[in-house]
Symmetry: C2
Subunit: 434 residues, 2 copies
């Protein structure tokens, strides 16, 4: 999928602020904007950064061509329109890499640019990071709950058709094995997978009634015996018997999409073994979330198909990150009004870990200071350069890099941080800003 122009994927006020600023010295003052989350969603122990790669792609398409200028000319003065015509982001961006864990206050992305140049990116930056991080954060918990068993992401139908593509990417970053979404396969190289729907079996209904065996035979003829047959359209026990009768014991897998999945998995496993098909796997799906996945740990399930809960962030569909101006020409700035605390000044962050690798704290420190040291702990700086002079730096981590990075990062969590139960962030955030 080629990326379209992204300049209007923004809030009108970003542009009117630019218009108001351009008449003043503020427009060109050197500013630092920071992206962070004030808190994690409802009892979550960690968040997962995702979307940075997509953001850098879309940033290159954030240009005001004639069509975009015609729209903004409705409410902007000609000088501002001329400025936008020439707009290319020319500043610097640092940030957490994709697949990095984050905690409340982590400075996930830092944009350094003139005021007008930087304020303009707020909406696009937040849309992408808030969406993708919400999905990756939920997916990582599901992957943890599933242990060594693979998850197939199949939620495209439960979210906006383009959000579905980004969701598949974020889920893959988080360790999900494959997606049903073909655009994600094309655009991001995510492995794709699929089974069959009840409609397929129902379609073989003729004047004489249903014919599940004909449906199974047709699927095997087209896709081979390694395929996954959906066995719960009519009676599951009969469905399994039909599947093995038609496919033989080499059948790849059966899928169960409804009912008490634990009970059914056990029954079906026993039946498959009795039928001499011990290698035929069991795929379960149907309203699974991280808790349902965990509850199936002791059951003979081989693969999970997860849809709705994954693409909707399992109760937290947005990461709640904000984009805040924190420094103007070297002077720290911060909103002072109640309830929305923020800390002025450009910041960076590092994570301290024991020699075992287990992390202990997130340290947020002044960007101008060196990486802090902590006695007895290893301290790893978290931000990497992403954009210089408006251009993405060379050799940025790939999606696969991020996927490996997250897998390692999850191992570094204190054990209670991987639990599904609600609680505090897995490690505290310590501000070293004096």
């Amino acid at each position: 999928m080629s990326i379209q122009n992204t300049a209007l994927l923004t809030d009108q006020y970003e542009l009117t602020m630019v218009a108001a600023a351009l008449r003043q010295p503020v427009a060109h003052r050197q500013c630092t904007f920071e992206v962070f989350a004030r808190r994690l969603p409802d009892g979550r122990r960690y968040g997962v950064v995702a979307g940075t790669g997509r953001l850098l792609d879309e940033l290159e398409h954030f240009r005001f061509g004639d069509d975009e200028l015609a729209v903004v000319s409705r409410f902007l003065d000609p000088d501002t329109v001329d400025w936008l015509r020439e707009y290319r982001f020319g500043g610097e961006i640092d940030g957490y890499r994709e697949g990095e864990l984050y905690f409340p206050g982590s400075p996930i992305l830092t944009v350094r640019a003139g005021f007008a140049e930087g304020v303009l990116l707020e909406t696009l930056v937040l849309s992408i990071l808030n969406h993708d991080s919400a999905i990756a954060s939920a997916a990582a918990r599901m992957v943890s709950a599933a242990g060594v068993r693979p998850i197939i992401e199949m939620g495209s139908r439960r979210t906006h058709e383009r959000a579905a593509v980004a969701s598949a990417r974020a889920a893959y970053l988080a360790g999900v094995a494959a997606t049903s979404n073909l655009e994600a396969a094309r655009t991001y190289g995510v492995p794709s997978a699929g089974t069959a729907a009840h409609a397929f079996t129902l379609g073989f209904t003729g004047p004489d009634g249903p014919d599940e065996k004909a449906a199974f035979a047709a699927q095997i003829e087209a896709l081979g015996v390694g395929t996954t047959l959906l066995v719960d359209t009519y009676d599951i026990t009969q469905g399994v018997a039909n599947a093995i009768e038609v496919a033989g014991p080499e059948l790849g897998a059966v899928r169960i999409d409804s009912g008490d999945l634990g009970v059914l998995a056990r029954k079906v496993r026993e039946q498959l073994d009795d039928l001499g098909a011990p290698d035929t796997k069991i795929v379960v799906s149907g309203d699974l979330d991280e808790y349902a996945i965990a509850s199936l740990r002791a059951e003979p399930v081989d693969t999970y198909g997860v849809g709705t809960s994954l693409v909707t962030g399992s109760g937290a569909p947005t990461a709640g990150m904000v984009y805040k101006l924190v420094e103007v020409d070297g002077v720290p700035v911060a909103k002072r009004a109640s309830h929305k605390e923020s800390r002025g000044g450009a910041k960076s962050a590092a994570r301290a870990a024991r020699a075992t690798g287990t992390i202990v704290e997130e340290i947020v420190y002044r960007a101008a200071e060196p990486v802090p040291t902590v006695d007895g702990l290893r301290v790893r700086p978290l931000q990497i350069p992403l954009v210089r002079d408006g251009t993405p730096v060379a050799d940025l981590p790939t999606l696969e890099d991020g996927r490996r990075h997250l897998a390692d990062a999850l191992v570094s969590l204190p054990w209670e941080g991987l639990g599904l139960s609600h609680g505090d962030p897995a490690v505290p955030t310590r501000y070293q800003l004096s």
Copy 2:
């Protein structure tokens, strides 16, 4: 925004089902697929159909070109690839119009086509309708709660960047007055609006400290005194005083984005009146949802800015609609396995209302039967033709038509149906299928 190719915005299994079907007579059997929701989200009284217009636009771009065929060739046989190369949906679609209320079981969309032709659309249809209807359904409750006061949708930063555009459209359909999203203004003609961010005021911090008045003066110079000034960056009372000092009593509005919005609105209203600015309006924003909006009914608020809760469906980010094969060559079909009840056979629906206009029940009946009559009630059929021979019919209702339709439809609900409290659907669904 021009629409890109949509053929890969789909699940792989739709295509493998086509491949398996194409070798069998089933591929060309005349089928009816229906879209419906088994239930409304968690205690909601009604749903709002949205997305149909977008679906018809995207349907025209559901074509397999060389790029798309290269992707699906990885797992499909050459005959199927050839069939996809020629694929144009050539069937019929009927459905509820956008802005129509729906209830559990309402046949929101009906697709009639050969099996392969129809099954291929499942993912795209559901992605669009599930997303857009979830947003419109949440937005309609907020609009009801706001009464005559306008709502500005400003949630783009809290959802996927393209979902944001669809959300703005769905919110407008539901009666929201304007959006901050400029792509929605361009693509769908939704009125756009905006205020300013704290960053703007903070940007005017100089070596001598903050200068809120300079920020306000700059905004007024660029946008005129009709603009909305954000007054809660530092101290709200001082902010309001600064705003009127700089703008005079002709100032359009002030915005409050944090704190106890009810208390603050009262204080600010009093202050504005005392300053001789009785016509300066008050815009409130900050984590508003339908309940918070309702709680501000008695407060002197003029406009609500709503973000996160709107674009995430206020707890129900997907409408949970399904796309089910219900009839094959005139034979009703239905899944029989537990927990996911469905009713076979092509269906249509009508809504019965008293002479006063108040609706009484949703009647789902066999599509082949005439519209049912109910003694003493007026019965209105709900499906309209949307596509014939693969082409959208002429003079389909516009987005504005849908917006008016919904406004009328909400008035037709029994009074308890407009309440925000959890409960049963506002009217029961009666199946007349014998």
